[in-house]
Amino acid sequence: MPQRVRLGMALFLLNEAVLFFMLIAAFVYFRGSTLATAASSLHLQAASVYTACLLASSLTMWRAAATGARSWLGGTLALGGLFLYGQGSEYVRLFRQHITISRTQFGTTFFTLTGVHALHVLIGIVLLAIFLILRPSHRTALEAIALYWYFVAAVWIFIFLIVYIWTFL
């Protein structure tokens, strides 16, 4: 990949990192008043499973970027989709407990943080889908998307540690 594309993408992701830092900081800022709800309503095992899907998708993405094979790309898409499905189920579970973005302070910080992250995953999936349909031979584009994908997975590791692991410590 040309050096300037890598640099450009890295700088853009630096800006995204600051965005997530601020959203995570807001979550932590309200942690005192949201911890009890978080501990009683979040489902650590289910979250661990879909977290594993997202991490595994980084591996398939890495193989896809290295080989350009459509099968690795398809696998990445599927694992990304599974992650969103898992997160969606988590949302439904919370809604059933009457936890929404407007009802509780925990809902406010949790849904905003994880929602903005899910939007990033969705954008990654759309980018990959566009790539699969339109330009399967454009390696620079694929490598740029891969950088983005690793970043989104890395951010999730921080979110998972702070929102889930820290809550159940």
Binding site: R4, L7, G8, Y29, T108
Partner: protein, 535 residues
Amino acid sequence: MRGPRLWLSTVDHKQIGVMYMVTALFFFLVGGIEAMMMRAQLSLPNLTVLAPEIYNQVFTMHGTTMIFLVVMPVLIGFGVYLVPLMIGASEMAFPRLNALTFWLQVCGGFLLYVSFLAGGAPDAGWFSYAPLSEKPYSPHPGLDYWALGLLLLGFGTVLAAVNFIVTIAAQRAPGMTIRRLPLFAWMTLVNSVLILFALPALNAALVMLLSDRLLQAHFFDPAHGGSPVLWQHYFWIFGHPEVYIMVLPAFGMISEIIPVFSRKPIFGYGFVAASTVAIAFLSYGVWVHHMFAVALGRVFISVFAALSMLIAVPTGVKIFAWAATLVGGSIRFTTSMLFAVAFLLEFTIGGLSGVAFATVPIDWELTDTYFVVAHFHYVLFGGTAFALFAGAYYWFPKISGRLLNETMGRWNFWLVVIGFNLTFFVQHFLGLMGMPRRVYTYPNLPGWAPLNLISTFGAVILGFGSLVFICNILASLAFGARAGNDPWDAWTLEWAAASPPPPENFAQVPAVRSRRPLWDLKHPELPDWAAEGGD
């Protein structure tokens, strides 16, 4: 490349730069009209030219427009136009991203202004403090448009910053090392780093505000466990670096213009560049000085007061470097140079009142009075806008191929200087007398009426001065004297290109062996690189 369709679809950095500047000039007129409306309402006590709720919308839109639709786009526009030329490149690193960035700005501006048709413009001030900006207190959709518009503008600005950094990192001509970079390019580079770290803080806050307003979340609403102080922290973590984002490229322009019209290289190039980096670092540690009136604890605010005073040091280093460049120079007082020298004086006044504000008790006394309005207009108008006028007179010949008229330039300069100082100097006194800002009228207290009338009178003169500028542009485009490639006998690479430059910029980029490649070209007997010990 001519015709409207080619302008709409262009990815040429010069055309995009011009479109940025023209858009910003349009919004400068809009924001200026809003300013005149406010001054009309405030010209005498107890007037009702504007209803209170309209006045709130007008001052909110004036601030938002001038910051996000005038100053930032015009500085990016100058950067997009000049940086590739200054570093000897033919294009920005990502030309299509460049076009996307511009159109995002247009869309953001459109979203902000369409709010007038959608039930009322935003009315919570340019920093939209919670809980006033929350749904129960501002139920009409104006603030939704404000947040969405700023989100687009913020995203576009980030992409512009990415483009600048990669362009300066990867597109420099051979020999254009980082230590030979023209100072305007240096400042644009540092500025872009500031943008990368500051704008996402605003974007995060806007996402949270939109969650509150559109999805009934409770980030900033104290009635449901939210925290209005959190909004203030987030906004000013963006907002104070933003102040430098709006002034660093202007410093860059001054650093180009003063040496050329003093016929001397800049004094202390390294200090000017390094002090910019120092300002950038410090700017992240001073945001709480906007919040001294919030009870945050003595030690906490004392730290921020000290850091805020510290930032005067690198800024002072720059002022001294520019002043030392003037000393002993053979100064040519073109209109551009007049504005540059006036910048030094006006910006220093704004800087001094800024240091005063860093003192906590003074801040407590003067917070939210007209002293604040006077202070930041000295920085933003006396600083940035004066530098922009200087830059416009300096680079217009390169952009258009014609010189701006110097006679109209003098009128422009004197009307703006007199009008500006009449408008804002008296506001220091109004603030000291306790007149609060952002209130649609005031009682007839001793001294308030005459000072406000002077301020309004000054604003009218300032308005005329700005119109002279626009007339000068239009007249000079049609009838201006031909500029030639290098009307100022300048030294940086953009003056080696034709005026206006062809699409590819340079037929051949001159060799770069020092900070003043064109000096070396014109004075082969006394080149800079010999003195600098370069290659």
